[in-house]
């Protein structure tokens, strides 16, 4: 099989593959910076919690309007924002730390979601909410994903400085300005927005994979923030494209293939990454002159 057949032909021949590629590349653009900031803010598991939190909203949307893109998106968005803002406000207004507040909110939200799903009875269509349909992205969904990515990149451009300073020294930012709270809530809203966009392609439970795995991979290759974001974005894009190819050639489901390719990249980074990877620790180079 020629490299063309292996890498290009699937996309050249099939429109659904091209659509899937555009979708995952757009998601990857937003996922890069999002994942890096989640990781640096020690919120790696927050994305996972938010993924669960979105479920009841999407289910309610489905309950009212069936498999309607906008109803499910709106529902997921409302549920995710309620949980994110609720937990953020509780963390800042009371003495409870945000991780505990978020756990409380998302567990309630998830239970509600499961309840709604089971009241409706088992329904194959609802699997869409859980597992996504990256190979069946229609125009509206692609526009939605691209729109969310655009908003995300613009928001990062606006909030960059506040996000960095709040990561480095939150009490300093709080002492000189009030933008810390605003930027934190805005950041949580971006997390929700991207997970809602991604669940159409990858499902609510896997959407976070494309966000966190490339970020964790990048950490083993770079120290500089800008490089980290660029690397994470590239890894996410490559995982998306390669995952689609793997799924095409092996006849495997596309969503899990994408996440597994990202997982392989992470595993390779853990072993061979030059910045603190296993091998770099086992074979230290000679120390430098003082």
């Amino acid at each position: 099989m020629s490299p063309y057949d292996l890498l290009v032909a699937p996309f050249a021949e099939f429109e659904f593959m091209r659509r899937a590629l555009v979708g995952v590349l757009a998601l990857a653009l937003g996922a890069g910076p999002l994942g890096i900031f989640l990781m640096l803010r020690r919120m790696s598991l927050t994305g996972d919690a938010m993924g669960h939190a979105i479920l009841p909203g999407a289910a309610i949307g489905f309950l009212f309007a069936g498999l309607n893109l906008y109803a499910m998106t709106l529902g997921g968005l409302i549920a995710g924002l309620l949980v994110a803002v609720g937990a953020g406000v509780v963390a800042r207004a009371t003495r409870m730390k945000e991780d505990a507040a978020l756990a409380a909110f998302y567990l309630v939200s998830l239970a509600l979601g499961v309840l709604i799903v089971s009241v409706r009875g088992s329904n194959v269509d609802l699997l869409h909410v859980l597992f996504g349909t990256v190979l069946g992205l229609d125009d509206d969904t692609l526009v939605l994903i691209a729109g969310i990515t655009t908003i995300t990149l613009l928001a990062f451009a606006f909030l960059w400085r506040a996000l960095v300073v709040e990561c480095v020294d939150p009490s300093f930012l709080a002492s000189v300005s009030r933008s810390g709270g605003v930027s934190h809530i805005a950041f949580l809203a971006l997390v929700v927005l991207n997970l809602v966009g991604a669940f159409h392609a990858l499902g609510t439970l896997r959407a976070v994979g494309l966000v966190m795995l490339p970020a964790a991979t990048a950490r083993f290759f770079a120290r500089d923030l800008t490089v980290l974001v660029a690397l994470a974005t590239l890894v996410a894009m490559a995982s998306g494209a390669l995952g689609l190819l793997v799924s095409y050639h092996l006849g495997a489901p596309a969503g899990p293939s994408i996440i597994l390719v990202a997982g392989l990249a992470y595993a390779a980074a853990v072993v061979a990454g030059p910045v603190g990877g296993l091998l770099s620790r086992r074979a230290p180079r000679r120390h430098l002159e003082a």
Partner: protein, 250 residues
């Protein structure tokens, strides 16, 4: 002399337990004031109250036109995340926040100020180093450089010299003297009474209640120190378990 800070029957505390109790004092503009007292005396709590991080549970603080966000405050244990990949230069540049905010650019004049501040704290050559690679003393120097860039009229320092070597101590003390010469008001929590006597013209001695306030020579007397530090006995540091409402007159 115009006042910079006025405490009127100020009580600060946690969950109704006072940590600073009925403090009335006036700090003049340009003062160089040491805040002394035993552990648990309310020194850090007082600084948190001044910078607005803690709301008074009684009385009030008048900052005479300085907003809490305009105060430069160095906490006892700075919460800098040493795992975050930020350079010393960028950490120090954070001190410009009040001026440039979220979107403002760092102009050539700002860069000159950043470099001057780094030079003043002896960190020239450390610009591109990641903060996580600094030693404790080097980090404290960087935080002082950031304070310099904040260009604040009122500066609060909570035990700024703990765990520093003699050179770093002398350098940072020099910066505090410079702030004083520039007419800024500086409050520093300190335990080294020799240093306080040598450098700080004014002292506030706290043991939850104010013990003495005024010129350092008259405040740090055997009699006042004995009242603050308990004359060989431990003072009542722990909260009384069954404390009732305070009925002291305002």
């Amino acid at each position: 002399m115009r006042p910079q800070l006025t405490f009127r029957d100020l009580t600060l505390g946690y969950e109704r337990h006072p940590a600073v109790h009925h403090l009335t004092a006036e700090v003049p503009e340009g003062a160089l004031l040491a805040v002394c007292g035993p552990n648990g005396a309310g020194k850090s709590t007082l600084l948190k109250g001044i910078c607005g991080a803690l709301k008074p549970i009684g009385g009030r603080i008048d900052r005479h036109g300085v907003a809490p966000q305009e105060i430069a405050y160095l906490p006892q244990a700075a919460e800098v995340d040493l795992g975050f990949p930020i350079s010393v230069y960028d950490l120090v540049a954070m001190g410009l926040w009040r001026r440039i905010g979220l979107f403002g650019g760092v102009a050539a004049a700002d860069r000159a100020r950043i470099e001057a501040a780094l030079a003043a704290v002896g960190l020239t050559g450390f610009e591109r180093r990641i903060v996580g690679t600094l030693s404790g003393g080097q980090l404290q120097r960087a935080l002082f450089a950031r304070l310099m860039l904040q260009d604040a009229r009122l500066i609060l320092l909570d035990e700024p010299f703990s765990a520093l070597d003699a050179t770093t101590f002398a350098d940072l003390l020099g910066i505090i003297r410079r702030w004083h010469a520039e007419g800024r008001t500086v409050l520093a929590v300190l335990h080294d009474l020799e240093c306080v006597r040598a450098v700080f013209p004014l002292t506030l001695l706290l043991a939850r209640r104010p013990i003495a306030f005024g010129p350092t020579g008259s405040v740090l007397q055997p009699e006042t120190l004995a009242r603050a530090y308990g004359d060989g006995h431990r003072w009542q540091e722990a909260w009384a378990a069954g404390a009732t409402d305070c009925t002291d007159a305002a």
